[in-house]
């Protein structure tokens, strides 16, 4: 029997949701707002919320100083490429763990996750030396591989969780109908797990887009993505907050728009299997 939801409870829940939502969104809102101020207005005390002369000057300066499209394209290629590579590796891996588990499957899953517990800087030198040895420094391909490997544990875990929700009998039925392993993966499993795969792809794309350790340390002039674009406007000796905010807004805009349009899919995927 469904529990009755009182009006008071609805109001409290809605207010709490809005408050948390606004708190989370506030830094983004403030960044966007600051990007339309002058440098002097950006540091004004008390802070200026709306009553200031809005200017597009910071965007003009950023456009003039940096090749935004080059950084954007690198971000798209690196985030997109690493996501596709990750999915190609993760789907078979998650399938085998979900439907053909061995007695070591749980250990492997935990071990994979444990690699996320190592601070990135701990492997900076080994990875850098590998990149130098294989001439991968400042290449988009090298970064795609590194970001794919970094995010792989999360992708495998997410897909494993989604696949576990799919009844094994359906796959068995497909096998009895004569489906090969490839056909089982492509025509039976994957279409049923599309919401989960979609949300995994989106989440991985966002993680790769925002990654700011390897993308700064393994690039120079050629493969630098939008994280490097933002970093070029940060300065401990000089007040360039308005320009930094303009650069940040330009960097987050594409991913924000993508997230906005795909939020339904994202939420559906993330809550997939949450309620049985």
């Amino acid at each position: 029997m469904a529990r009755a939801v009182t009006t008071q409870r609805k109001i409290i829940t809605t207010a709490a949701a809005w408050t948390i939502g606004l708190l989370i969104f506030f830094p983004i809102y403030w960044t966007i707002l600051t990007s339309f101020k002058t440098e002097a207005q950006a540091i004004n005390d008390p802070p200026l919320f709306f009553a200031f002369d809005w200017t597009l000057e910071n965007y003009a300066v950023v456009q003039e100083r940096s090749d935004y499209m080059k950084f954007l394209w690198n971000s798209v290629i690196i985030a997109g490429g690493s996501t596709i590579l990750g999915i190609l590796v993760a789907i078979p891996a998650a399938w085998s763990m979900a439907f053909v588990p061995s007695k070591r499957t749980k250990d492997i899953l935990l071990w994979m996750l444990s690699t996320k517990m190592l601070p990135a800087v701990g492997v900076l030198y080994p990875i850098s030396l590998i990149f130098v040895e294989f001439n991968l420094l400042d290449t988009r391909g090298g970064l795609m591989v590194v970001l794919m490997l970094i995010n792989l544990p999360i992708i495998v875990w997410m897909l494993y969780t989604y696949f576990k929700e799919i009844p094994g009998e359906i796959l068995e039925a497909a096998r009895m109908d004569g489906a090969t392993l490839k056909e089982e993966l492509l025509y039976v499993l994957t279409p049923m797990a599309i919401p989960g795969i979609a949300s995994t792809v989106l989440l991985n794309f966002i993680l790769a887009w925002n990654e700011a350790f390897w993308t700064l340390n393994l690039t120079a002039a050629n493969a630098a993505p939008l994280t490097a674009f933002i970093a070029s406007y940060s300065s401990p000796e000089g007040l360039f907050f308005a320009k930094l905010s303009a650069a940040s807004t330009m960097a987050i805009a594409p991913i924000l728009i993508l997230g906005w349009f795909s939020q339904k899919q994202l939420v559906r995927g993330l809550t997939f299997g949450a309620v049985k």
Partner: protein
Amino acid sequence: MSFKSTFCAATALSLVTASGAFADAHSATITIATVNNGDMIRMQGYTDNFTAETGIAVEWVTLEENVLRQRVTTDITTKGGAFDIMTIGMYETPIWGANGWLVPLDDLSAEYDVDDILPAMAGGLSHEGTLYAAPFYGESSMIMYRTDLMEAAGLEMPDAPTWEFVAEAAAAMTDRDNDINGICLRGKAGWGEGGAFITAMSNSFGARWFDMDWNAQFDTEQWANTLNFYKGMMDASGPSGYATNGFNENLSLFNQGKCGMWIDATVAASFVTGDDSTVADSVGFALAPDTGLGKRSNWLWAWALAIPAGTQQQAEAKQFIEWATSTDYIELVAANEGWANVPPGARTSLYENPNYIDVPFAQMTLDSILSADPNDSTVDPSPYVGIQFAAIPEFAGIATEVSQEFSAAYAGQQSIEEALEKAQAITNEAMEAAGYR
């Protein structure tokens, strides 16, 4: 589109992007890693002039100072070869030069006039007499103060004040009701932030980081005096939360008219007298204070251009360095943007130029730079080179930890005595592990 087609398309796209991506090739252009500050950004704007003169194209990689340090250090130690020129400071240059990681700049052309580089700068960017980086701009630290508030307090700032006078003036200028703090100083943790300031200040109180046997000296009276004086003055006349204030926070406070005095980098003089400052018309300058022991509390720093030993384009890189740090470049900037905007503190001839000496802060900047000697920075003898740092590889790590303890003491989370005890232990332990003791 069927799922199979989508899957195949995704795979193909992945392979295409990957294969294209791996094919990124370094062109014949030179790549320069640099920091984001006004002078460096200005230089990027004039790169086309260099390319037009020489035919050499330039790619810039601009990063935040700490990120840049990590990036170029990794690149040079792994022989990555991502950069043909690196922007480094006085801390890294002698260490990297000694390790053979930098190309010696001992064959610069006669027209470049290497002897024109200010001796203090050339000294700090050399190892055993060989120059390893050419200064693009140099800085010391000095007092920037509000002439109107000083006058209202009935005081007159001497050209070379003592700490005692500064504390007295700070108390007199403080007006909490109107949100005016007598003095703003760095307190933020970090060897290049609050760590740099307190180390330079400690020199004037007769303190030093190490004795001649590399033993830490935080258990001395001089260090206790330094920290007690700093905290006492800042608690009485500094802004709230000063323990987390760095250069930018203090610049913001000063430009909004909320600081009577600010002791910081000479390069800030152009900011506090610039368009973004609300107090630009009432700013005076004085040497950083002392206590009469013979050392002032000003530091010395330069952002300089150096060539990593692994570069394949050494000749082109040297050509760029000669162009960017030449007197011709200074004149190019002056002609287009005025003398107040030229990179300061690198060349003697700039301070002999009558056009430049009219700039309000020029003379005080020069006097501050000339009064700083990285080879003789402490009252008692010390084994290290450097004023606000000791030019040894271990210093950055140790000083960051020590400054965290100091910041915690400023914030009242522990006593000065506790902070100094911890600093002593941290430093001695690290020096022992590194084999100095």
